[in-house]
Amino acid sequence: MSAVPVTEIRRCTRCVLPSTFPGVSFDADGLCSMCQEAPPAPEFDKIRGNLRRKLEEVFAAHRGKAEYDVIVAFSGGKDSSYTLMTLARTYGLKCLAVTIDNGFIAEQAQKNLRVVTASLGIDFLLFTPAPVFMNDLYKTSATTAVHTKAALTRASSMCNSCINLINNHMVKLALEKSVPIIAGGYIGGQVPKDSVLMVMDLDVQARFRSEAIKRYVKHFGPDAASYFGISDALVARSPLRKINIVNPMLAFGVTEDRIIEEIATLGWRKTSDTGSNSTNCLLNDLGIAVHYKQHGYNPYVNEIAEQVRTGLMSRAEALEKVQDIPDFARVERQARKIGLDWNEV
């Protein structure tokens, strides 16, 4: 943890990654190790073009063969709204939008869920895990080492727990409904490189699942087995052996302003109570503050740095975002909502 004020931390001269970020080093020009290996920003247009073609091949191979072509993990936030819009309109895929209500979806975001799916004429499913489980999940995630170090460089511990639960739910639904593609609205830096298209082999997953479930049950109690697990019977019953996991945002190359402009045409409106890095979740600032207190860097810095590196955000805008650490006194209130004592963090 760093005692240096966030504005005075040494940062990469190209992408804003801080010296407090795990595994990073700087060259004589102040370029971080990730920027040293990255091509110049303009080249990403070509890279994204190639990625779009790869996605289009997958869409073409699966379009029209099942009840739904794709399950979209839909948070109601800007990125998954844009993903849903593009898959439905540009690519003509039959989408099923699925939202997990974690109990902390901002009011405006709940309206956005309805208005976006209604405008697009898309089926929409909402799943609400028991609040008692979710609150405990967040509390434990804030106070216990649950995730790999690498996962923590991409999102806060609380976010990672939630994301894993969501992903697992999507895979379950895909198996139940034989949907060959699952789409997420993740952007660069939130997921590992090459996540634009991953083929999930259900047998390979089984091996991770059993290890992961053991850990989840240890941390979150016996109910975690169903939230984070998939039964062998479900896998056996499904005709699917592989599921295509796609994160199309990595191939689209659109700026935040453009995203918001486009989804506004569907009736989507920005939330005013979710902090500077979220457009749906009221707990997000708590997750950031906990991460900052424990690790000394903003958990959004990796994705923000990646947006700069790939030419989708200016460095000045990025700097403003990463230096905006939520006020610890303010997040204490959020902490109490999940039964967390800030001093335990």
């Binding site: 996962a151 082999d201 390979v204 091996r207 991770f208």
Partner: protein, 82 residues
Amino acid sequence: MDDKIRQYLAETLLIEFGDDGSGVSEDANLFESGLIDSFGFVQLVAFLEKTFAIEISDEEVLSDALSSFAKIRSFVADKVGR
């Protein structure tokens, strides 16, 4: 080769090896210890295939051959030597 794999695991998965108690043992099972998740594993397989110009079959992916640093190292050495 040893260095390349070690550096990859350190930089990408943030796994540091060492037998003096400060790091992870080279024989430690990366899955059971929770050091690698499914994302990390997919990345690792892609890295090994690309870096060492080898092909890793579905059976090999499913086997125990890539479960620790020591096993990964001998697996790649075998493949490259072939």
